[in-house]
């Protein structure tokens, strides 16, 4: 676990795991569901990319026969033309390479006859409906990613949660830079100076170091203005007035400390 504010700079560059979006093929009976998947995938495309969104089983087969190779198939249990069970049977005979993971979305069965339907999907991953979109996409990412990618995904989620709690506006570029700096700090084998972390981000983004520094300054100012209690508490701990503005170093040290306690299961 990395801790900020060490005296000695390091010479080896810390690297974050390379990640690619998980490509998923969605197939849903209802148009609203299809449109919703497209919209959510648009804003979460860095993690889950919608390779295609099909309306029928036949469309799914045509896409797969046409060479589409998603990492995950997300199938509505109520799909028709053909039914999802016939579709799954057909897909199993195609011997796709690579073989996609299959997630079947199933309405919670209430009637006695419907409960038996759960057994039809016993060899697949199922998600019961109703579900939240975030939960669905988290599961798709989990099914289609490697352990390293999945760990980074969760750590990034923890970073964002900490930044949000401290009142960091997500629309500022400094938010993105702070997130990356925190991740670099977590993945580093040794403690890193804040200047080094800023250099990593500047190199990653192809921008000047000063741009990162200025963006972080603006971020801290905005957070001070928002006045969320965790930021104010950090000001007090750093010996500043509650409504003061933290330096970049003080801010990152405080955020990292909070992050380390929350991200413990993934470290």
């Amino acid at each position: 676990m990395a801790v900020l504010l060490n005296e000695r700079p390091l010479h080896e560059k810390t690297a974050l795991p390379k990640t690619t979006a998980v490509t998923a093929l969605f197939a849903f009976n209802a148009k609203l569901d299809r449109d919703t998947m497209k919209l959510f995938a648009k804003t979460h495309g860095a993690e889950v990319s919608a390779a295609a969104v099909a309306a029928t089983g036949q469309e799914v087969l045509e896409l797969l026969h046409g060479g589409l190779r998603p990492r995950v198939l997300v199938l509505d249990a109520l799909l028709t033309k053909p039914s999802v069970t016939s579709l799954l049977q057909e897909i199993s005979t195609m011997h796709l390479d690579p073989e996609p993971a299959v997630l079947v979305v199933v309405p919670v069965p209430e009637e006695t006859a419907a409960r038996k339907a759960l057994r039809l999907f016993s060899q697949y991953q199922i998600m019961l409906r109703p579900y939240g979109m975030k939960s669905l996409f988290d599961e798709i990412y989990r099914m289609g990613s490697t352990d390293d990618e999945h760990r980074l995904y969760h750590l990034r989620g923890c970073c964002d949660a900490v930044l949000d709690d401290y009142g960091a506006p997500a629309t500022l570029s400094g938010y993105h830079y702070a997130e990356r700096m925190l991740l670099y700090a977590l993945y580093a084998d040794h403690p890193q100076q804040i200047g080094v972390l800023q250099q990593y981000v500047a190199a990653e983004e192809g921008i000047e170091l000063g741009t990162v520094t200025s963006a972080m300054n603006r971020l801290s100012q905005k957070m001070s203005k928002r006045g969320m209690e965790p930021y104010r508490a950090l000001c007090r701990r750093c010996g500043r007035p509650e409504d003061g503005v933290l330096s970049n170093g003080q801010l990152m040290a405080g955020l990292l400390q909070e992050l380390c306690s929350r991200a413990e299961p993934y470290l």
């Binding site: 069970t85 049977q89 069965p109 006695t112 038996k116 759960l118 975030k134 997500a170």
Partner: protein
């Protein structure tokens, strides 16, 4: 290989009229989440703050619509409930214990002051014929009616051999509510109120072959005489997936009822 029965099971997944309501509302909730997610990335904090109360109210209305959809579809198909949810052997004590636990947890989460207690009078196992879905509907409607009158009520679920009694410490059922439950007679007051809880309580009980009587109280007291227990060797075990689905449905239903009460 998939058999013809699979087609019937898949069809049953649609869930009839209730399923149609639910699917529509599920889709709306997901679309709503996607819209809110998109807005968070494209609007300023000030704009989001302005929109948030409307989003919150929309969520409450969706919850309300879910409840109305379930009740309306069950009321419309009350005569068919007996066929669609085949009563099967169950241990009523464990079912009610789970319901009690969830009610207590969710009441604490919502900050609702009511209390609920399971009294078994030494009965640890009460086999009878029933259905988890119908039981959920029965108990949530009873609890909802109680809390609509008194949000800080004390509810007791009492089990004895061959019998389940629901009691609260409220003012008791008005005469027309009693008549609706036992004689299916509607008063003008209840017709105008548009509530479906009381006739549904009777319909759910009937579908499980539970005889319903209204006790003298004090408070509301409904007595359910349970059908004879089946031989233990006829008890069928549920698969883990079925049990998980059942628990999840139960919790979501109770969460919904209490969220609506908390948001009034």
């Amino acid at each position: 290989m998939y058999k013809e029965d699979d087609g019937t099971a898949l069809l049953a997944l649609r869930g009839g009229l209730r399923g149609r309501f639910r699917r529509s509302l599920d889709s709306m909730e997901n679309a709503f989440e996607a819209l809110q997610d998109s807005l968070e990335r494209t609007t300023s904090p000030a704009q989001r703050a302005e929109l948030q109360p409307i989003f919150d109210e929309l969520r409450t209305q969706l919850l309300s619509l879910r409840r109305l959809g379930d009740q309306t579809s069950d009321a419309a198909t009350a005569a068919l409930l007996r066929g669609s949810c085949t009563p099967r052997p169950m241990d009523l004590v464990s079912q009610l214990r789970e319901i009690c636990d969830i009610l207590q947890e969710e009441a604490a989460r919502c900050g609702l002051p009511f209390t609920v207690e399971l009294c078994c009078a030494g009965v640890e196992f009460l086999p009878t014929m029933g259905d988890a879905t119908l039981l959920n509907g029965l108990v949530t409607n009873l609890v909802s009616n109680t809390l609509a009158v008194d949000g800080a009520a004390h509810i007791v679920l009492h089990c004895a051999p061959g019998c389940f009694v629901y009691r609260d410490n409220g003012p008791g059922l008005p005469p027309d509510a009693r008549a609706l439950l036992t004689e299916e007679k509607w008063s003008e007051r209840l017709l105008h109120a548009g509530g479906l809880g009381l006739p549904l309580i009777a319909a759910y009980a009937r579908a499980m072959d539970w005889a319903l009587a209204v006790g003298e109280g004090p408070g509301t007291e409904l007595q359910f005489t349970l059908p004879a227990a089946p031989p233990l060797e006829n008890l069928m075990l549920e698969s883990p997936a079925e049990r998980m689905a059942e628990q999840r449905t139960r919790r979501q239903l109770i969460q919904r009822e209490l969220a609506l009460l908390a948001n009034r």
